[in-house]
Each structure stands twice: as structure tokens, then as C-alpha cells.
């Protein structure tokens, strides 16, 4: 069957749905295709998000919220605890969400704006005329589809096939990928609404273990470790060991287990080409310290959708026209990702002893802002001079580049 749209979005995650919504609102005829049977399922996420999301008014209702967080606790290897609480920071913390409902609400808002969704539809390749992208080849159940369009949006995740078919580099270095798994445990003794983070080389090399409460006596308990520091099956083994040794958790019952991969790289160098836009994990729009990407998906998706709508109106689908999106996300969060990438590299050089020292120095600090930015600022103040100097020398070029912007 042949179909024709202005825009085809491959992938119905947050970045895909938000891009679709704003492109449709701007008048474009948009189709979102999704290989899975249900938007947002399976959930591949720790499900934490900053409360900043309230200000954007992108999501309706409250069904997607599992719990409002009162703060966060960060544990160093010797279990020194740095607390960031809502009281200190004017309630600027976060939510733990139901990602399936969250994604479905975003899809509904895209549909309300006029976008169409087609589930059980797997992209098989790009339709090209020479080098020019003309649409997407797909399979809906057993039916082959040729979907012609002017702009294709790669919202197909960390292993983006669309970007690869377009000839872009998609492979990640193992030092830029977190390999993760997570249990959702119920019947546990976690009652207060604090997101917990556990750091240390023996706990989670190059990453952390998280405990995100989703309500009373239920939490996501997960681990991310850097692929370059991982051994076969290490993520699950370390997580199992952690749970076994935690009295609050070790009698918990599993109601979900999942594995995932999170890019912790710099943003993709190229996020637009003629007739093509990359969003979300495909564009590597993830904070390299936390591995969080939801807010960037929403912010970047909105910019992408608006630029795409304008490009469709102007009948100009060139990389040059679409580069307004690239400029947009670079202004919005480009320097933040680059800066946090440097901090990630810096943290990798710290041994457990340094992390413990740092945590003791921060233990009594009253944080004015609960965010990675606020935390990084405090960490920077307390770093040993030698570490600071080493980082400055090693990353001189990148730091200059970020300052220029």
C-alpha cells in the first residue's frame, strides 16, 4: 500500500510524540509509526523526572505521576549521605512517573493536534531517490507500506536504524554507553519520597544504583554501569548483590524486570540532514551525568516540531532550513550536555576515597537548587585543586568551546 504524509516520525516515545504534536499543530500532516503494539510499553526507564516539567504545560492531568519526590539522597561508597531536600530548595524537586501512561498522554496530545499513529508498524528502510530521502518503507503486520513524505524524523532510540540508513554514525563507544537493568519491587520497606543514588566502583562502576519510590512500599531499583567497565552480566549481578544486602529491599517481590541502554555521550554531531531530523536518544539528548533524557525530549521535540512545521509550509526540507532545530536545541541545552559530559569524565577519574571526601564536604551543605547543575556547582567548589587542574588541562579545548557559546 502507498501512503503520503508531510512528515513520518519513526518511534512513539516522548521525543517522537512531542515532535509530532508540534509539527501537527503547525499544520503539517504527520504520521507516527511504532513497531510495538502499545505506546510506552515496555517501559525502559528509571521513571524519574524534574518538576520543571510543570512549567511547560505539555502534559494534561496527573495520571502519569506515581509520586512527588520530597528530595534526593546521594550516597558515597562509604555511605556518607548528601541530602537535597525540597525544603532547602523551594520545592524544586521531581516526580517518579508511570512512563507507559506518560508516553500515552504525550501520544494523545499529538493525536489531539492532528497527528496519526500506526502501531505494529516496523520501519524497514528509507525510500530514496539517489541520495535523497523520499519516505519510509514499513511493515504493518504482514502488509508492506511505502510511506512517502518530505521529512523523516528519527525518534527510534539509542540504536536508531533511521539515522544509520541515512548514513549517519550511530555506533557508540562503550565508554559512552550505560548498560542498565532494573527491578520494580513491591512489598518493600521504603516509605519516604526520596530518590536515592548510590555511587562507588564496587557498587556501580561508572554509573550508579538508584532507588526511586513509586508509592508506598514500591520502588524502581536499578543500576547503570559504563559499558567500558562492564563484564558479562555484571549489571544484574551487582544489582542483585545490592538488593540482597539492603534490609529494606531484600524481601521485596519483583513485578517487573527490564534491561536498557542509555547514551552518556556528547550530543550527536549531526542532528539534521536534507529531509531528516534526529530527536531524543537518537540525537543523544541525554544528560551524561544522570542518564536522564525526558526533559530534553520534550524541549527538543517541541523545537523540532515547530521547525518542521515551518519547513513544510515553506516547502523547503533542506538541511539548511532544518538547521534552525539544531541551533535551537544547542541554545536550549547543548552547553549543559557538553559540560556534564566533562563532569562525567572527571568523575570517572575519581577513586572511591575522593568520592567519600567529597561527600563529607557536602554533607552539611544547604543546597539552593536541586538539580544536577546545583550539585555540580557545589562539587566543583569542593574538588581537590589537583583534580581541578588536571581536568582544566585535559579538557582545555572543550571548555573554551563551551564558554564561547
Amino acid at each position: 500500500m502507498n501512503l503520503k504524509y508531510d512528515v513520518v516520525v519513526v518511534g512513539s516515545g516522548p521525543a517522537g510524540s512531542v515532535t509530532a504534536r508540534f509539527a501537527a499543530e503547525g499544520g503539517a500532516k504527520v504520521l507516527v509509526i511504532e513497531r510495538r503494539a502499545e505506546v510506552g510499553v515496555p517501559v525502559l526507564c528509571g521513571e524519574g523526572i524534574s518538576r520543571k516539567i510543570d512549567a511547560w504545560k505539555i502534559l494534561e492531568g496527573k495520571r502519569w505521576i506515581a509520586g512527588k519526590m520530597d528530595g534526593a539522597r546521594i550516597y558515597s561508597p562509604d555511605k556518607t549521605c548528601v541530602t537535597l531536600s525540597a525544603e532547602q530548595a523551594g520545592n524544586e524537586t521531581g516526580y517518579v512517573v508511570y512512563r507507559d501512561i506518560f508516553d500515552q498522554e504525550l501520544a494523545r496530545s499529538a493525536i489531539k493536534a492532528g497527528a496519526e499513529f500506526m502501531m505494529n508498524t516496523k520501519a524497514l528502510g528509507l525510500i530514496k531517490e539517489g541520495d535523497k530521502i523520499k519516505g519510509v518503507k514499513a511493515e504493518h503486520f504482514d502488509e508492506e507500506l511505502d510511506i512517502e513524505c518530505d521529512i523523516v524524523v528519527a525518534a527510534d532510540g539509542v540504536d536508531s536504524k533511521v539515522a544509520q540508513w541515512a548514513g549517519l554514525k550511530t555506533r557508540l563507544d562503550p565508554k559512552d554507553l550505560e548498560t542498565c537493568c532494573q527491578y520494580t519491587l513491591t512489598d518493600i520497606d521504603v516509605a519516604d519520597a526520596y530518590c536515592e543514588f548510590y555511587l562507588g566502583k564496587e557498587i556501580a562502576p561508572g554509573g550508579y544504583i538508584w532507588v526511586f519510590p513509586k508509592g508506598k512500599r514500591i520502588a524502581n531499583v536499578g543500576i547503570g554501569i559504563l559499558a567500558s567497565l562492564s563484564e558479562s552480566g555484571m549489571a544484574k549481578k551487582l544489582l542483585d548483590k545490592f538488593i540482597e544486602n539492603d534490609k529494606r529491599l531484600n524481601k521485596g517481590k519483583t513485578i517487573r524486570f527490564l534491561a536498557g541502554a542509555v547514551p552518556v555521550s556528547n550530543p550527536a554531531e549531526q542532528t539534521v540532514a536534507d529531509n531528516l531530523v534526529l530527536v531524543g536518544d537518537a540525537a543523544r539528548h541525554v544528560d551524561p551525568i544522570t542518564g536522564g533524557g525526558l526533559t530534553h525530549c520534550l524541549e527538543g521535540g517541541k523545537i523540532a516540531g515547530e521547525v518542521i512545521a515551518k519547513a513544510i509550509k515553506a516547502k523547503d526540507y533542506s538541511a539548511e532550513r532544518l538547521s534552525e532545530y539544531e541551533k535551537g536545541w544547542k541554545d536550549a541545552f547543548g552547553p549543559k550536555i557538553k559540560r556534564n559530559y566533562l563532569v562525567k569524565e572527571l568523575m570517572l577519574e575519581m577513586d572511591d576515597k575522593t568520592l567519600n571526601k567529597l561527600a563529607s564536604a557536602l554533607e552539611k551543605v544547604k543546597f539552593e537548587e536541586i538539580s544536577t547543575h546545583g550539585l555540580v556547582r557545589e562539587v566543583a567548589k569542593h574538588l581537590p585543586i589537583s583534580t581541578k587542574l588536571n581536568a582544566l588541562i585535559k579538557h582545555r579545548k572543550e571548555i573554551k568551546e563551551i564558554k564561547k557559546k
Binding site: 532510540g157 557508540l172 548498560t179 537493568c181 559499558a227 558479562s232 552480566g233 555484571m234 527490564l258 534491561a259
Partner: protein, 62 residues
């Protein structure tokens, strides 16, 4: 003797896509919703084996 190639245990694979993302040879793809290694492309580097969070890839590669 030819080096052993990486092999995904389809029963253990949770389709997280980590191996696919780090494979330097683009040798791993989705087959029936699970990762599968193309032995013709595999160079026995073992990066996928080390990356797998649940130990679903084997190959006796050091």
C-alpha cells in the same frame, strides 16, 4: 583455528539494544525481537559480551 564468535542466548536476551549500539562491526541486529550476531561480520572483540547487562552473550572470547 578460527576465533569463536559471539552468540546471543535468545532465551536470556531482554532486547535492551546495548550490544547493537556498541558493536564496532554492525554485526548485531534484531531477529524476532531479540539480538542476533552475524558470525560473518563478528570480529570476536567481545565488546558485546562485556556490555550485556544480563550475561546473555557468550563466545569464550578473551
Amino acid at each position: 583455528m578460527a576465533k569463536p564468535k559471539a552468540k546471543v542466548d535468545q532465551k536470556k536476551c531482554l532486547a535492551c539494544c546495548g550490544c547493537i549500539t556498541v558493536c564496532p562491526q554492525d554485526a548485531i541486529s534484531w531477529v524476532g525481537g531479540r539480538a542476533q550476531v552475524d558470525p560473518k561480520k563478528c570480529i570476536s572483540c567481545a565488546i558485546c559480551i562485556r556490555t550485556c547487562p544480563v550475561g546473555a552473550i557468550s563466545g569464550d572470547i578473551q
